[in-house]
Every structure is written in structure tokens, then in C-alpha cells.
Subunit: 184 residues, 2 copies
DNA sequence: GTCTATATAGGGATAGAC
DNA sequence: GTCTATCCCTATATAGAC
């Protein structure tokens, strides 16, 4: 095991936080998941678990932006956005770290990062709808409903261990949005 | 302060768990919220915090059933269901204890109660849609989307401290459902 | 840089006096 | 029934040897 690569370590941390949540991931599990002892971890992240989470959030937000937001900003293709969401969330195998963090007892300290995630996504979707000719109020409402629809679907999918729920939900939401767009 | 009434104690516990979540509510906060010392709490609930949560879940599920499910089963009025949801969730001031528990690190032990909540609600909504003439596949899809839409809205409302989000979300969902019904 | 041992705090649960 | 003191475990974080 060579010198620990920070990017790889953060990737492992991201996957762990995504699976167990911030409070749910203990230092023992963090150590096991990264293959690093406590000494190494606190050497790499002097501010401890909170710093690990911050860097994980930054990495995941970057991945989400590249996978979902940037393409949407490019062509405004809503159907493609849902496909990209499905891929980002691994056909329902992944969960939303941001939604989970909102409900985490210790999640308050990451509120800014959480809100930034949803604001960036919502802004891009609203703009795409406006560009497609949707009326402003409708666009705002639809994008808000889409974000919460995705988050809610991920929550229920976790509760019923039903990874297929994400595909079903995204399909329905895509149909609804596409219909509105075609009427505009 | 007279002899502690079990129903009142459970009501206070329910409110606390709803606000802080299961893992987020510590014994000190439980003691403060109920006005009962540890001795009294463990006398009333020999199995500790888990038992407190179970009885809280039962009480909240009962309230939800009476407020939302039973009326829906009675007349199949979907618009009334959304009004009842808005009232149950106190115009967005309350959160969903079930959604939160799904994502709680210690929530696994309550999975049966969580699933029962959503199954009961979904069953009643699907039946109402079927009775209104909606095709079976559409009814199943719409009820699933409604449940996840409500949960997602509650999550985002918490993340942005935006209690008005619930009203907006419920209005939009009601419009969508009502339109499908009117076309059936 | 990495290890182990330990500090420090908090969790839930318990025992025994009253 | 209720109280207080305490137990035990786990959590994160730290210190110091190597």
C-alpha cells in the first residue's frame, strides 16, 4: 500500500458517508473503509470527521455537477437530465447524501453545502424550462417539484429496499415535464 | 405535576422524536421534554428508548390514520386528502418521522412500522384512484409518486427551513392528480 | 507518516436509597 | 414511583513513541 492518494481516500470516504450517513459512519468504519489508521486519518484531515465530510461533499457535488448540471446547462435536455440522474444514482443503488444530511442530527453544520447543491440543480432546471418556453411560475413550481420528487423517491426506495423505484419515479416525472414542455 | 399520564407522556415523546429524530433525541432531552427523570422513564418504559419510540410511532400512525387515511377510505376525495395532509403536517411546521427514520443510523429496527405507514397510506390512495376510474397501472404509479413527492417536499422544506414549501408542493400534486381523475 | 494507547465526552441503561 | 449516582460502552480526538 503506497502513499495514500488524497483523491482516492476522499472517494472512499464519499462512498462510506453516502451509504451510512455522517452520524452513522464511525471512525472504526472510516478506518476500515480507507485502509488508514487513526493516525494517518488525522494527519490527512486535521479537523477530523467534519473535514472528511466537507471534502466528500465537495467531491460529490463536483461529480453531480459534471454528470447532471453541466449537461443540462449545455442543451437544456430534460429527458437527458433524468437519464443522467439515473446513472449518477446508479439505478437506485446509491442514495442522496444531501437529503440524508438534512435529516442527520449533526447535519446542521453542512447546511450551506446542502443548499448549494439543491440551488445549483434547481437553477439549471428552471432555466432549461424557461428556455423551453415554460411560463415562469410553472417553471419554478415544476423544478421544485422535480427536486423533491427525486429526493422523496430515493428516501422511499431506501425504506423499501426497492432500487427499481428510482427508475419508475424518474420515468413518470420525465413524462410529466415533457408534456408540459411540449404544450409550451 | 401529578401522576404521569402515559398518553400525555407519549405525546411529548412523539413531538420530540419528530423534531430531533430517534438518534438525535438523547435521554437528557427526553427527560427535559417529558419532565420525567431517568428513573421514572425506565419505570414507564422498561425497554428504554426503543420502546419509547415504538409507542410514539404507534401513536403517530394512529393520528395519521384518523386524519388522513380513514377519511380517504370513506369518500375517496383526493383533494381532501391533501388538505388533511397539510393539517397533519401543521402547514409544514412538522416533519415526517417515518421518512426521517428511514435515514436514521439506528432506524433499521423500526422498518416494519415504517413500511406499514406507507403501505397503509398508499393502499388507500390507490384504491381511491381506482374507484375514480383511473387505470390500474396509472393509479399505482400516481400513488407512489404522491407519497414520495410529499416525503421529498418535507425533506427539502427542512433543508431550507421553508415551511411554505409544503403548501406549494401539495397544491401542485393535487392539481396533477385531479386532472388525471377528471380525464378518467 | 503511521502506530498504539489514552484522553475526554456522551450515549443508554442500571442499582439501590428513599 | 422517583431520585441520584454510577456503570459500561462507544464516540471522536489527541499524544507520543517509532
Amino acid at each position: 500500500m503506497g502513499k495514500p492518494n488524497r483523491v482516492e481516500v476522499v472517494a472512499k470516504l464519499s462512498a462510506l458517508f453516502e451509504k451510512l450517513g455522517y452520524t452513522g459512519a464511525g471512525m472504526n468504519e472510516i478506518s476500515a473503509a480507507t485502509g488508514l489508521g487513526r493516525g494517518s486519518l488525522y494527519h490527512l484531515f486535521p479537523d477530523g470527521k467534519a473535514q472528511m465530510m466537507r471534502e466528500s461533499l465537495a467531491a460529490l457535488q463536483d461529480e453531480f455537477s459534471q454528470s447532471v448540471v453541466v449537461p443540462l446547462q449545455g442543451d437544456g435536455d430534460v429527458t437527458a437530465m433524468f437519464e443522467n440522474l439515473l446513472h449518477f444514482y446508479r439505478e437506485g443503488e446509491r442514495g442522496s447524501i444531501w437529503g440524508r444530511l438534512i435529516l442527520d442530527p449533526q447535519g446542521e453544520q453542512f447546511k450551506a453545502e446542502i443548499q448549494e447543491h439543491f440551488n445549483e440543480w434547481r437553477g439549471a432546471l428552471t432555466k432549461a424550462l424557461l428556455d423551453a418556453g415554460v411560463e415562469r411560475g410553472t417553471a419554478a413550481s415544476l423544478s421544485e417539484r422535480t427536486l423533491s420528487g427525486v429526493e422523496g423517491t430515493l428516501v422511499l426506495a431506501a425504506g423499501f429496499e426497492d432500487s427499481g423505484a428510482l427508475l419508475r419515479g424518474l420515468r413518470t416525472m420525465n413524462s410529466q415535464l415533457s408534456e408540459v414542455i411540449s404544450q409550451s
